[in-house]
């Protein structure tokens, strides 16, 4: 646990001593607000809820989370500090977890900083704050899954740009897994049962279910399993890299 915390602290420190943290938070907050009010018709709908706010989170994460996760391993590889890190008495799992938690905590902070919109909607009307809490939880879980994908793919390369593009591409496919564009392509090569399985992988559907306030355990578990699977794959890839 010591090691996980030490690595998490170091990663968080690295976020905040570079402009990355501030750029990320500012862009995230600006875009979240702009999309909510201008594209999401927050006022025009006349409903006291945060649906127009949460609706755009998947798309914000799609390009912001890879920017956050791309450096996690690629940077270590590039600067050679990977050698330093992996010769400390730290397991690969601990290192992966430390990095993941740092990025997740960071997104959590960005989400917390969106509190003015929650204040706004409470000022304007009487929203169901339970649904809003579920929305935040769903958003955080989905961000975790995105970050886990990014952690895993960042181990593959020493180039942050490559890590960014890979992560964004994989996340895009995972987001849209339930949409016709992916399903039609899948059904031309896969049997129907597998197509259904692909449809179930969709981040979007699981997120939307939670964000509507339906906190189904299956959706929560889906994101948690996604996180574990991607992080495990990342650890496996790192280990493979030691022997390759």
């Amino acid at each position: 646990m010591n090691a996980v915390l030490a690595i998490m602290r170091r990663e968080l420190r690295s976020y905040f001593v570079t402009p990355l943290a501030y750029v990320f938070i500012v862009i995230f907050l600006l875009l979240a607000a702009a999309l909510t009010f201008y594209v999401g018709d927050f006022y025009e709908r006349g409903l006291a809820d945060l649906q127009p706010f949460f609706r755009f989170h998947p798309w914000l994460y799609l390009f912001l989370v890879p920017a956050l996760s791309m450096r996690l391993w690629a940077e270590e590889r590039k600067s050679g500090t990977l050698e330093l890190l992996l010769t400390l008495p730290v397991t690969l799992t601990q290192a992966m977890l430390g990095k993941f938690l740092a990025a997740w905590l960071f997104v959590a902070l960005a989400l917390v900083l969106t509190f003015p919109i929650w204040l706004t909607v409470n000022y304007l009307g009487n929203p169901d704050n339970g649904v809003i809490l579920a929305g935040y939880l769903g958003s955080l879980l989905m961000a975790g899954a995105f970050i886990a994908v990014g952690c895993c793919l960042s181990t593959l390369t020493r180039s942050q740009v490559v890590a960014f593009i890979l992560t964004a591409a994989v996340c895009f496919m995972l987001l849209l897994a339930g949409q016709p564009i992916i399903l039609e392509a899948a059904s031309s090569v896969l049997p129907q049962s597998l197509v259904n399985a692909v449809a179930d992988l969709s981040f979007l559907q699981h997120f939307q279910a939670i964000a509507r306030g339906v906190l189904d355990l299956r959706d929560v578990v889906y994101f948690l399993i996604s996180i574990v699977v991607w992080l495990t794959a990342g650890v496996w890839l790192l280990d493979l890299g030691r022997a390759r």
């Binding site: 600067s79 050698e83 330093l84």
Partner: protein
């Protein structure tokens, strides 16, 4: 204590380290010597547990690096090649990170940190970003993180590379002081360092171990071992007399400096007979030296595969 047995590492079809066996003991500094690309760094990475060997095994303080990696890594301090560091952190932050990751806590950890900072003279730069530091300072920070937990085994990949002569001297003193009760492996391609620091030398090239000896033993393999060289005015006549000595195999004269080097037959001592001749001839000798042997020559012959 480090024991490597038949350590082998392949990258695809390239064999970077080929069945390397070596043993390093406490109180000694083992020098890993070899031309660039010889496999020194790969070998050290396997010992430090960063790379997995393709075959063979290595243990640190009795712990198998592959099977008990955490125990092995706890007993080990490692300075990677080029002393990589987290450039965006300050010196204090990065040492603090290593201390935490190694679970060093409390008063003792603080004292140890101060001690290491003082020993490597890092006080002045503690709050500076590593990115802004000179190569010499960064190397010292790398050394500091390697010795922070006072490990019984140290693996230092080119610890003095890129340092100025004064810094080299300091780092060598440091290594020398630490060697008393530790097992230390350093890699280098500086031959002067071998004589100055190492109690044993392992020469590798093409991933293979070519020699494992003390610096003195290596010097003894040199054709210069036991040779006498001198410069004297008007030594032309003496040359023939010296060449006729029964113990002497060969006399060479440097065409530019005029310095004469007299090579003995193996095992013969020629200092006295040569000096006698010089005295008898009444020559003004400016300088005379009994050679111990030249490591660079031995190194070249061993690594280029010439028979000794």
């Amino acid at each position: 204590m480090i024991e490597a047995e038949q350590l082998t590492r392949r990258y695809g079809s390239l064999v970077a380290v080929d069945a390397l066996s070596l043993r390093a003991e406490p109180g000694k500094v083992l020098g890993l010597l070899g031309p660039n690309g010889a496999g020194k760094t790969t070998a050290m990475r396997m010992i430090a547990g960063f790379l997995a060997p393709t075959s063979g095994r290595v243990s640190v303080c009795g712990y198998d690096v592959q099977r008990q990696p955490l125990k092995a890594k706890r007993s080990l301090g490692y300075l990677p090649e080029g002393a990589p560091c987290y450039g965006e952190l300050t010196v204090r932050e990065s040492l603090d990170f290593v201390a935490r990751a190694r679970a060093l806590k409390g008063e003792a950890a603080f004292r140890r940190l101060d001690e290491v900072v003082e020993r490597l003279q890092l006080e002045a730069v503690l709050e500076q970003n590593l990115d802004t530091l000179s190569k010499g300072f960064r190397r010292r920070v790398g050394l500091a993180q390697a010795i922070l937990h006072d490990p019984p085994v140290l693996i230092l990949d080119e610890p003095t590379d890129g340092l100025d002569p004064n810094q080299k001297h300091e780092v060598r003193d440091l290594i020398d002081a630490m060697a008393r009760n530790r097992t230390i492996i350093i890699s280098t391609h500086l031959l002067e360092e071998v004589g100055a620091l190492c109690s044993r030398v392992v020469i590798i090239a093409g991933g293979k171990l070519l020699a494992d000896a003390t610096p003195a033993e290596l010097e003894a393999r040199s054709r210069y071992h036991g040779a006498v060289s001198f410069s004297a005015s008007g030594a032309g006549a003496a040359r023939a007399m010296i060449a006729h000595l029964p113990q002497v195999s060969n006399v060479e004269v440097d065409p530019t400096s005029g310095r004469m080097t007299v090579f003995p037959h193996p095992g013969e001592a020629i200092l006295d007979p040569v000096q006698n001749i010089l005295r008898e001839q009444g020559l003004a000798v400016h300088e005379l030296q009994l050679e111990r042997g030249r490591l660079d020559e031995v190194f070249r012959r061993i690594t280029t595969g010439e028979r000794l």
